[in-house]
Symmetry: C2
Subunit: 203 residues, 2 copies
DNA sequence: GTCTATATACAGATAGAC
DNA sequence: GTCTATCTGTATATAGAC
């Protein structure tokens, strides 16, 4: 027996998957309605506009992210916590090779149209950054933590783009090995080497 | 006196700028025609389809890239050559904050629709990678060069995404300082530290 | 709450006069 | 080679019966 929100959930799930695969602009309401097995006209009972569906999808990604951050938070130490995040990306590498990073893709595409959707997408990356910064602080990196988090997230996002562009999931797997060694070095020397280093301040 | 190809050039230039700002799918032929000051119907005398304009724009970016690679090639040593590339990104940081990296943006967006446009865009990143790999080989990094080039380009692309997402050009400026120190270390120790390390083979 | 039919707008593309 | 007018398809969104 379908709950009241059943169709709404199906629509958001369908939109989330389709937007990941095709991007926001290329995904039509007809696509979403079909994938969710809801008649097109009925979509508007649940979402007033296409943008409203976008908001719901990003909100869903946000909840997903915060659940994940909480899970990773349980790991034994800062290095393991950061690696849990990278491991998640490795586990998604096949999908990333096909369709790119869901979060990075949203930020990239929506930044071009500005507005509240772009801001909502940016917050996903921003929250990830803040979480990573907290981990580096936990490693005793102090003021350098912000720059380290920036480079850490940039490395993941950059590798995700190359993974998608070259259709090669191994790129992300290699990144994890690389970052693992690097985190050992950072943790032991308390001195970031690079391309992750304390430089100026990030506004 | 307008040359035979005058309008064609104007159309490609207009399309290049608009696609950078708005993305390929959001840019209409009417947009391009207006920006190039060419009547809409006349566009089709120069380009049979919108995809054909996309091809011309990517080909243009390709020539631009190869000219740039040749220029950077003139620098004194491998480190300076790689930094010339990073410096170029720093010089474009304001534009990148507004509209993202033109090449990364194309790869991201076009990967989702596949086809020859996606391949053409991917070749821009691939050529950049091969050039960077050559520089690392020139530094005596041997077999590790490919992985180093991958991480190097990933760092630039990742930082470009964050620059665009957070609208902060300083992110790219900081990256240059960071990468400069890192290249010193790599060059002197002949041993990559990280997040750029020799790991497995990249297919 | 649900769904069919349709309004409205605008995209890519073409016809054909000049 | 150039440009106006227009065809055709399809997207978002609405109206209104059920």
């Amino acid at each position: 027996m379908p709950r009241k929100t059943d169709k709404r959930v199906r629509l958001v799930d369908a939109a989330k998957a389709l937007i990941h695969r095709q991007g926001f602009n290329l995904t039509t309401l007809a696509d979403i309605a079909q994938e969710a097995d809801v008649p097109l006209g009925n979509v508007y009972y649940y979402f007033k506009t296409k943008e409203a569906i976008g908001e719901a999808v990003i909100a869903n990604r946000g909840r997903e992210l915060h659940d994940a951050l909480q899970t990773w938070e349980k790991a034994a130490n800062a290095k393991e916590r950061l690696l849990a995040y990278v491991q998640f990306e490795v586990d998604s590498a096949e999908e990333t090779a096909k369709s790119g990073c869901p979060v990075g893709g949203l930020c990239q595409e929506l930044a071009k149209q500005g507005g509240s959707l772009a801001d909502a997408a940016a917050k996903l990356l921003s929250d990830t950054m803040l979480w990573a910064e907290k981990q580096f602080q936990g490693m005793g990196m102090g003021e350098a933590s912000r720059g380290l988090a920036m480079q850490f997230v940039a490395a993941v996002q950059g590798n995700a783009l190359l993974t998608n562009t070259f259709k090669d999931p191994k790129i992300l797997a290699n990144l994890k090995v690389s970052l693992s060694k690097w985190l050992d070095k950072v943790a032991s020397t308390k001195n970031a080497t690079v391309p992750i280093e304390k430089v100026e301040e990030y506004a």
